[in-house]
């Protein structure tokens, strides 16, 4: 058993991360920390999908918040308006997000590079219009209220603590499944088509089918995060699913280091932590600071990370730790 763990560092990492996350709430009474971690888990789910899509399959999406939104509103509308079981509503959101991605993908994977980026942006714009215009269904710009909580038997997920565990349960499942995918025949095919589509095709890899499936998978993750977001807050508005959010998701994936499942978690965590920190730090430095100061500082930090860790935060930290170790080992 021990040997097997040693041979599979990802399993070891999963166990350590799960244990750390499990005890975290015991070490703090601070609800604010919990809510931040719920957010990190939620964005990790989407970022992992984006990392598979961009880092492994080499396809750009600037509209990933679309699927996040589809998941959230499907969850909300089905469970609140149609009184469908919240679990089934969550599942429906995941499936609908994946189905939309598949259909959109059929059209847009004929495009390459910038065109793909533009097409996914367009998709996000359309979703935003629907969310703000179809007031009867979505609640319009003022948002949707009254999404029911999830429950298991007689137990209802109602507190931040409950949702913390629920969110990270799903996040770790997504990480585990994605690690399995990356280290498989499918993962190899994705990396292959990223480097050379012609060479991948030449050995029989149907590159279009793979792109479609990765896109649908990343959308399913987005849908899952959306559904969980909806039931956790019980409320949401179209502002959470804009192009800005899509771009923020890309930033998380890039900061984490694109072709890395674990990196996605670090990227989501780092970006959210920096944003939260700046919000308070800038206020105390410049008392009458506006949102723009935050954005400028955020941009500067991103630039520094990319200059000093072009491989992303995760790979950058791993290399740094390795160098430390070899320095220490020297007599």
């Amino acid at each position: 058993m021990l040997n097997q763990i040693r041979r599979t560092p990802n399993l070891l990492a999963l166990i350590i991360v799960s244990a750390a996350l499990a005890v975290l709430p015991l070490t703090t009474q601070n609800n604010y920390i919990l809510t931040i971690f719920i957010l990190v888990g939620q964005f990790t789910i989407i970022t992992v999908g984006l990392s598979l899509l961009m880092g492994y399959a080499g396809q750009i999406s600037l509209g990933q918040a679309t699927f996040y939104g589809i998941g959230a509103y499907t969850m909300a509308i089905l469970s609140a308006r149609f009184e469908l079981s919240p679990w089934l509503s969550l599942l429906a959101g995941v499936i609908l997000a994946a189905a939309v991605a598949y259909l959109v993908g059929l059209l847009i994977f004929r495009l390459h590079g910038h065109y793909l980026a533009m097409a996914t942006l367009g998709m996000n714009v359309i979703l935003f219009l629907i969310l703000t215009q179809e007031v009867e269904w979505t609640g319009g710009p003022s948002g949707f209220r009254g999404v029911p909580d999830l429950s298991l038997g007689s137990f209802t997920f109602s507190s931040d603590l409950h949702y913390y565990y629920l969110m990270w349960f799903f996040t770790l499942i997504v990480i585990a499944l994605s690690l399995n995918i990356v280290n498989s025949r499918v993962g190899r095919a994705m990396r292959a088509l990223h480097t050379s589509e012609v060479a991948a095709e030449a050995v029989g890899i149907d590159t279009n089918a793979f792109k479609l499936k990765v896109f649908a998978l990343s959308a399913a993750y987005g849908g899952l995060a959306g559904g969980l977001h909806a039931t956790y807050l019980g409320f949401m508005s179209p502002g959470s699913f804009t192009i800005n959010v899509s771009i923020e998701l890309v930033v998380m994936a890039v900061v984490g280091g694109l072709a890395s499942v674990w990196g996605a978690m670090f990227g989501a965590g780092a970006v959210l932590a920096i944003e939260q920190y700046l919000r308070t730090a800038i206020k105390s430095l410049i008392p009458n600071a506006s949102g723009e100061h935050e954005i400028i500082a955020f941009g500067l930090i991103l630039m520094l990370i990319m200059i000093f860790m072009p491989q992303g935060l995760f790979a950058g930290l791993v290399t740094a730790v390795r160098q430390r170790r070899t320095v220490f080992r020297k007599p």
Binding site: I181, S184, R188, A199, V203
Partner: protein, 271 residues
């Protein structure tokens, strides 16, 4: 040679803007032979490969492989039919190890999809081990087994070509298309390559080989086909082709190398 050809192409035509890259070419490749395609720069050799492998769509003409019409198949479908190509400008998966490169070549010999892989369904581990073993077998064949875990890009150019060859063989092709496989190789490496190509042919794989320089293929080709400006100007045994006046004229006229060229990396740059 009474048997039906393995690959039959009729009236292949392909132009890019005003340039007719392949001009009404008929092509027969017989089972078990090594057919060499030679011609000067820009004669349309690579374009012929692109048409057969489905990388480019033909403007006119048709291609039959083992009796099936493959004219409009996508490249991955052509590969699944058993036609595998290499690339003039080497296409190695730089973000993978040598062994992983060859394992990608085993793609069609596995089934595990997203679902099975994500859940590690029973059978996926077995399949993965089988693919790994198969990958190693082909690395042994090209003499690179001891480099299996090296990043593919860390290998010298000649060995990277061998990785590409091993990857192509791992697909289990019936017809192997090699686009200037000796370009950029040293003399020793090129001789080793010739030996390997003959061995692959003896294992039952039909080979269609592009070479820029006629002298380089005379030793191993069963038949030679010569193209110039997209048109076939001669076809026959090496001896017949060498004696052909049109070919001799093309040689003189088009500034071909008369002497066997040294196979130095200089050639890679314009590849």
């Amino acid at each position: 040679m009474g048997a039906k050809p393995l690959l039959e192409a009729r009236g292949l035509l392909k132009s890019f803007g005003g340039v007719v890259a392949v001009n009404h070419v008929d092509l027969d490749i017989h089972r078990g032979e090594i057919l060499a395609l030679i011609g000067p720069n820009g004669a349309g050799k690579t374009t012929m490969f692109n048409l057969i492998s489905g990388t480019h769509r033909v403007d006119r003409g048709e291609i039959f492989f083992a009796g099936e019409d493959i004219t409009y198949l996508r490249p991955s479908e052509v590969a699944a039919q058993g036609i595998v190509r290499t690339f003039q400008n080497l296409q190695i998966f730089g973000n993978m190890t040598v062994l992983e490169n060859v394992m990608v070549g085993c793609h069609l010999h596995g089934k595990a999809g997203f679902f099975a892989s994500a859940l590690r369904l029973p059978g996926t581990a077995v399949e993965e081990t089988r693919i790994r073993q198969r990958g190693m077998e082909f690395l042994e064949k090209v003499g690179l087994a001891d480099q299996a875990d090296q990043p593919a890009v860390s290998l010298p150019f000649g060995q990277q070509r061998m990785v590409e060859l091993a990857r192509s063989l791992a697909v289990n092709p019936k017809l192997l298309l090699l686009d200037e496989p000796a370009a950029g190789l040293t003399r020793v490496e090129a001789e080793e390559l010739d030996r390997l190509i003959c061995q692959v042919r003896d294992d039952g794989v039909t080979i269609f080989l592009v070479e820029h320089d006629m002298n380089l293929v005379m030793g191993i080709a069963d038949r030679v086909m010569v193209v110039q400006y997209g048109t076939k100007i001669a076809e026959g045994t090496p001896a017949e082709v060498q004696a052909n006046t049109a070919v001799i004229q093309a040689y003189l006229g088009a500034d071909w190398h008369q002497e066997p060229k040294s196979r130095q990396p200089a050639e890679v740059e314009n590849a």
